[in-house]
Symmetry: C2
Subunit: 240 residues, 2 copies
DNA sequence: CGTTTTTGGTAACCATGGTTACCGTATTAA
DNA sequence: TTAATACGGTAACCATGGTTACCAAAAACG
């Protein structure tokens, strides 16, 4: 790993346009970003393929933002196996949930999937009082809060599905949510059977079987991607 | 509902000592809190028992902090039934995840379980630039980030358990986590069977049955609250 | 245009875990 | 101390959903 503190300015000039597409920096113009960075003084590091970007158990160094290349976030589960949590590409963040949670160490390991460049924002710096608390700095904090709350909401939503015990309940809840979003009884599924089974944490044949049962009972009707809810009330009574 | 903007100062003087025990205001002294409140200008409202504090679908008014009494956070699920999400007492917050997530409306309803007093902090105000961006204001933002990230982490942890399909896997994972925390093969359970069953989202008799099986196989040993891991490797191979 | 791959429906078999019900032992309250 | 209640182990029965394997239709690819 090569730390390029000296080249930071040059690095930013090159990446500043891409970075404003990154969620953390949204609503901040490239010009303002320069100011923000002079406040934050982030560290940029370059990694070779398969190099360790962060090691579980070691001191937390700050939220990471992938500038180029890809990283893999892995977690060692209780059985001692490494499982992949996420693959993050250019512009994506990792460790955002740990930055402010009071944990002092990385609970996950991050490995360079390809050669990559990563920027680290120390948590303390984000909320520090720079002399001129610039508007953009405030925007940064807002963005951070938005990202973390958004993540929490997403997890919450996912949890709601997994807490439902019966497969029929999961399917009904999912369909009703889609129905509400679409605003009509006929709509397109946003996922393939495969993906939906994954999302609901059930097996694909079981999902298929149950959906067909519901079709045979006249509650729904479907062909491939398209779905039609025929008995809304029946469906509602199944969601639970 | 009676809004008492005029009495805000009096209200605070009375509650300021309790509030500094509230997570959002931790590390802020009562004196500093006065300053912070003069920045934030929160609204305080008084509700009678069973009165609606927030209505799902209506405009989001800000994070709520219960000053006295208790509120119930309820959500209408897909089937149209109201389910209780949380009961919040004095010093506890609600709506903290929605404040910054960009949702414009309350996704839940909040009802006064007893007569109660609730303080609302508008999301925008928390991150606003008051003239003298006081140290305490920064602390407030830090606390907010900490609370929301903590919530996200907790949800994440819960999700990990629910994603495990086999009951044995859930139990093993849970025990290994407890073991790691305790640092010894013998430790006390932090939950009763009932609560653990709830946490793992399984039925109590099934949990009991499986734990006894594991005991009969010689992997663990237990009596009521106390647990001893006898075959660590076996347990690890079951967690998954 | 034919071939390969992906997608999804179907069926049989069986393991897992929910349900209910009962009972003994702690724990708490009166 | 006794009564009431909470807690947890146990067993029988059975519904749900996982597994595997196969097939047909659709889509992607050469």
């Amino acid at each position: 790993m090569v730390t390029k503190n000296g080249d930071v300015k040059k690095m930013f000039r090159k990446w500043i346009n891409n970075l404003s597409e990154c969620e953390l920096f949204k609503k901040i113009t490239p010009e303002e970003l320069n100011l923000v960075f002079s406040c934050l003084k982030p560290k940029v590091s370059v990694y070779e393929k398969n190099e360790l970007v962060a090691v579980a158990g070691e001191k937390f160094t700050g939220t990471g933002i992938v500038m180029t290349g890809e990283v893999v976030v892995t977690k060692e589960n209780a059985a001692g196996n490494r499982v992949i949590m996420a693959v993050n590409g250019s512009g994506e963040m990792f460790g955002e949930m740990f930055a402010f949670s009071g944990e002092g160490v990385w609970p996950v390991s991050v490995v360079a999937r390809t050669a990559c460049t990563v920027m680290f924002l120390p948590a303390g710096k984000i909320i520090c009082n720079c002399e001129r608390l610039c508007a953009s700095h405030r925007q940064l904090i807002t963005n951070m809060l938005e990202i973390v709350s958004g993540k929490a909401l997403m997890l919450h939503r996912k949890l709601e599905y997994l807490t439902i015990k019966s497969l029929r309940g999961k399917i009904s809840t999912f369909l009703l949510e889609q129905y509400k979003r679409a605003g009509s009884a006929t709509f397109m599924m946003s996922m393939k059977r495969n993906e939906l089974a994954d999302f609901l944490n059930v097996s694909r044949p079981a999902l298929s079987r149950e959906m067909c049962r519901m079709r045979d009972e006249g509650v729904i009707e479907f062909h491939r991607e398209s779905i039609k809810i025929k008995e809304l009330d029946a469906l509602k009574s199944m969601a639970e």
